[in-house]
Symmetry: C2
Subunit: 341 residues, 2 copies
C-alpha cells in the first residue's frame, strides 16, 4: 500500500492520505493479521502467518521465520508508509505534497501469548528495549527518514489492534512530526536562553518537590507532568542528560526495564488495566549540518510519554489544542504511588 | 467551579485543570442539566430548569426567563472557566500557571425540541448566527479574554452532552489557544511573504479546480481541505476577505444560514447523521497594539471548520500530530456533492 503526505498550508501540519481506502487501512488495525485456527499469528510456532521477519533475537541454530526466537520484528500488514522509492516532493498550486516513504514495523515482544506489557519479565523487557535500539540504529542509516517513532496502543479504546499479543510499532517518517518538533523547538529555545536542558531542570524540580513523582530508581524517574493533558499522563526520563534513546549505555537497560515494569504494573493494578498510548520521543535523524546537531545533543533529552485514555476528547480540545484534565497530576501521582502499599 | 491553567514548559501548550474533580467536570457533560419530568431543560416553558439567561432574542413583552424567546443563552452548569477575578499569573519554579478566568455559555438554538442543526429553518439559523455575533461582540469588550471560541459537538461519539436539544457553546479564554495560534502565525507568515491572504488564495485555487468543493453560494464556499485530518473534514469560508466573524455584513447572514443548512443537510443525509465537531475560527481579541492588529485584519480570514468523527484517533496521531486519513478529500467532497442528486 502506498500513501501521500499532504501539508496544510496554513498550520503547516502533515496529513497522511492512504491510497487504498477503507477500514483496514486504519493504523489501529495494523496488526490485523488473520488469526489462525486455534492460534495467534504472533505466537511462537505460527511464524508463517506473518510476513517474513525483518529482525529477530534468536539462537543462531534456529533458521529465520521458525520457532526459537525471543523478540521478532515483522513488516506491518497494513503499513502507512512504503519503504521503496524517492520522496517525490512537489507542489500543486499553493499546496505541497510528497510520497509516503517510510517504514512501518511490528515488534512482537515475546513468543508467549502475553497480553500486557508489564507481564514481560525483566530479561524479556530488556530484549524488547535492545530490539528498539537495533531497529532505530538500523533505520537511522537511511537519510530519507527524518524521525523514528516507537509507540504502542494498549486496549481497544486506545485504538489497539484486534491482536492482543503484546507488541509495539515502529514508524519511520520522512518528516519530523509536528508534536515532536514542538518539543525540539521548545527545548532549543530554553537552552538558548538558560544554557541548560529543560528536561534536566524539570527532573530537578520534580525530584525536589516529589509531589508528582510516581516511582524512580538510580537511573530513571517516572512522574505525572505539571501540565498533564490526560488523567494519569506519565513521563519516564533518564535522570542523566542523554539526547538519543539508542545511545543508552547497556548497563542502564536493566534499570529502564525495571522502571517500565514497575510503572506499567502500577498503572494496570491502580486503574484496572486502562487503555493507553506509549511513545518514545528521541532525537530526530541528524541532518548533516554539524552545528545544528551539536546543539540538539545538548538541548534534547529522550523520554517515554504515556497517555492513558480514560475520558473523551471533545470539540473544545480539537479546536483549541487546550486539554481539559479533571484530575490534578499531584493526585494522579499519589494514587499510582500508593498502588503497592 | 474554578479551574487553573497550567503551561507545559517544553511544548508551550496550556492545559485546564478543573479544581472540582470527577465525571461531571468533563465539558461534554456541560449541558447535563437535570431533565425535568416530561421535559427537556432547553425547551420553551422549562426556563426555570436552567440558570437565568445571559441573553435572549425574545419579544419585548415577554419577561426574561419566561417563554416567548427565539434563541436563549445561559451560563454552562459545569463551566470550565469562572468569570470573576483577575488572572493571577504566577510561577512555580520553572512552571507557569494562572487562574481559569473566562466565560462558558450555552446557546440554545431554538425553543422547539429539535435535535439537529440542519433542521433549523432559515430564519431560525439567522437568529442563531446573530446571537453568535452579539455574544462575541459583548465578550470582546472584556480585555482579560484573548479568544472567543464558538463550537458545537454533535453525537455522543463527538463528546456531545446528554441533552439532544440542539445547542452551541461559547468559551472565552484568557489565552490564545495553540491551534488558533498556529493558524494565525501561518497566515501571518504567508502574508509577510506574498502580501496576500492565504485563505483568499486557497479559495481561488479550490474554486478553479472544483474537485474538493461541496457547495457554494454568492458569498460562501464549503470544501474539503487539501490536507483533511479526518474523513469529510470541511471548511466553510466567506469568499471575500474578512478577518472577524462579528464584522459580517447583515445581508451576508442570510447566505451564511443558507450554506450551513445546506452543508449540514448533506452531511446528515450523505453519512447517516455522523458525529461531528463544528468550530468557528475568527480573529482573536485585539491587543491594544495598533500595528499588530492592522496586520492581522489583512492576513486572517474567519471560517468554520467541521470535523466529522468517523474513525478512531490512535497512538500515532497523538504522538506525532500527523493524522492518517483513509478517505481522499476529493472523494469525500464528491460524495457530499452528490447527496441531493
Amino acid at each position: 500500500m502506498s500513501s501521500i503526505l499532504r501539508k496544510d498550508p496554513v498550520a503547516g501540519r502533515w496529513v497522511v492520505n492512504l491510497e487504498r481506502e477503507g477500514k483496514k487501512a486504519f493504523p489501529h488495525f495494523s496488526g490485523g493479521l488473520d488469526q489462525k485456527a486455534n492460534g495467534c499469528p504472533f505466537c511462537e510456532g505460527n511464524e508463517d502467518a506473518t510476513f517474513p521477519e525483518v529482525f529477530a533475537i534468536r539462537d543462531k541454530e534456529n533458521p529465520e521465520n521458525s520457532p526459537g526466537w525471543k523478540v521478532r520484528v515483522i513488516p506491518s500488514i497494513s503499513p502507512i508508509f512504503a519503504i521503496e522509492g524517492g520522496l517525490g516532493k512537489r507542489g500543486e498550486g499553493i499546496y505541497d505534497l510528497m510520497r509516503g516513504v517510510g517504514a512501518h514495523e511490528i515488534i512482537i515482544e515475546t513468543p508467549k501469548h502475553i497480553n500486557s506489557f508489564h507481564l514481560l519479565d525483566g530479561n524479556q523487557m530488556e530484549l524488547v528495549l535492545k530490539t528498539y535500539i537495533q531497529r532505530i540504529s538500523d533505520l537511522k542509516k537511511d537519510k530519507r527518514f527524518k524521525y523514528l517513532l516507537i509507540f504502542k496502543n494498549h486496549g481497544r479504546k486506545a485504538g489497539a489492534s484486534r491482536i492482543e499479543h503484546t507488541h509495539s510499532q515502529l514508524i519511520a517518517l520522512p518528516v519530523t512530526p509536528k508534536m515532536v518538533k514542538e518539543e525540539l523547538v521548545g527545548a532549543r529555545k530554553y537552552f538558548a536562553y538558560k544554557e541548560r536542558c529543560i528536561f534536566c531542570d524539570i527532573i530537578k524540580q520534580e525530584r525536589s518537590t516529589g509531589e508528582r513523582v510516581i516511582c524512580e530508581n538510580d537511573d530513571f524517574l517516572a512522574f505525572c507532568p505539571f501540565a498533564s493533558r490526560f488523567p494519569y499522563e506519565t513521563w519516564i526520563l533518564p535522570k542523566k542528560h542523554q539526547c538519543n534513546f539508542e545511545d543508552i549505555p547497556l548497563e542502564m537497560i536493566t534499570s529502564l526495564a525495571q522502571i517500565l515494569r514497575e510503572f506499567f504494573g502500577r498503572l494496570f493494578h491502580g486503574l484496572s488495566d486502562p487503555p493507553y498510548h506509549l511513545f518514545l520521543y528521541t532525537g530526530p535523524n541528524p541532518i548533516p549540518r554539524r552545528g545544528h546537531w551539536q546543539t540538539l545533543s545538548k538541548d534534547f533529552h529522550w523520554h517515554f510519554e504515556v497517555l492513558p485514555r480514560l475520558g473523551k476528547v471533545a470539540g473544545f480540545e480539537w479546536s483549541t489544542g487546550v486539554h481539559i484534565n479533571p484530575i490534578l497530576p499531584e493526585n494522579a501521582a499519589s494514587k499510582l504511588r500508593e498502588v503497592y502499599n
